[in-house]
Symmetry: C2
Subunit: 161 residues, 2 copies
């Protein structure tokens, strides 16, 4: 059901978090739960994974994650600033050392002139600072979701090394 | 990446929700995001799926979903009452017509004398009432998660018919 690459990455992240004694939370839009599901596929993940929010609609991004309405109205839900505010928001509300966020256009619908299918912003909030990454993935809806999860877990491992 | 049965069930649920003009939200513990990921695997699901909460730790079940501390302390997180309060809580907070909840022991660890691996409580909150179901699934961690998602989507389809 879950592919070996995702399980392997999730296992590496789990081992690293246990070593650092860091807890983690997630705020997902375009990955729709795949990120938290990948993290929790590992037995024992409840030692570091506290929980997450799947914020599909904009009101929920505001209400549960504290994303600024002004950010959503001016820059849009698919933006680096929204990814940053989602990551910061979930980290603060769930009181974890680390948080991850995803927002993008998984397709096949939803693209605009300036925001194509496959455009995804990732946020990684660490105790010292929050990083955001702009990515352009190709493939169908599930491939864009999967690529986003691979990318954010690899980036997190890179930042924690 | 996602199996055909889950996609087919999710598609049926989506078509039914669109027909009824009902929105939906999720509150997941033991499925860890697989339920919301199954719902959002369908293109166009943002028309009915507002969002969800993955409440892995008890404080997050209380804080984000409004589950009673007394319920968690006396009946435990893996109980029908917790499933009911998770479903009611997410439906109220995310203001949807329908909500789904899962709480259980996916294993391989976490079992107690009275609560074996595979014991899962599902909650389905509809406008008229909230239903809970006790299930005993067999299999490994991912199989228990998958069986929980299949069961709750089938139960929802049954209730909406």
């Amino acid at each position: 059901m879950m592919d070996e690459k995702l399980l392997s990455l999730s296992n590496q992240v789990g081992q690293t978090l246990l070593k650092c004694q860091y807890s983690i939370s997630t705020a997902e839009s375009c990955t729709g739960g795949l990120l938290s599901q990948t993290i929790t596929a590992i037995s024992g993940s409840s030692a570091y994974f506290m929980g997450g929010v799947v914020a599909y609609s904009n009101p929920i991004k505001e209400q549960l994650l504290g994303v600024n309405r002004h950010t959503l109205e001016t820059l849009g839900a698919v933006s680096g600033q929204t990814a940053q505010e989602m990551a910061d928001g979930v980290r603060r509300r769930l009181q974890t050392e680390i948080s991850l966020s995803t927002t993008g256009i998984a397709g096949p619908t939803g693209a605009t002139e300036t925001k194509p299918v496959g455009l995804v912003y990732l946020g990684i909030s660490l105790p010292e600072r929050t990083w955001t990454f702009e990515c352009n993935f190709s493939g169908d809806r599930l491939q864009v979701m999967r690529a986003s999860v691979v990318e954010i877990l690899e980036r997190l491992l890179g930042l924690l090394q």
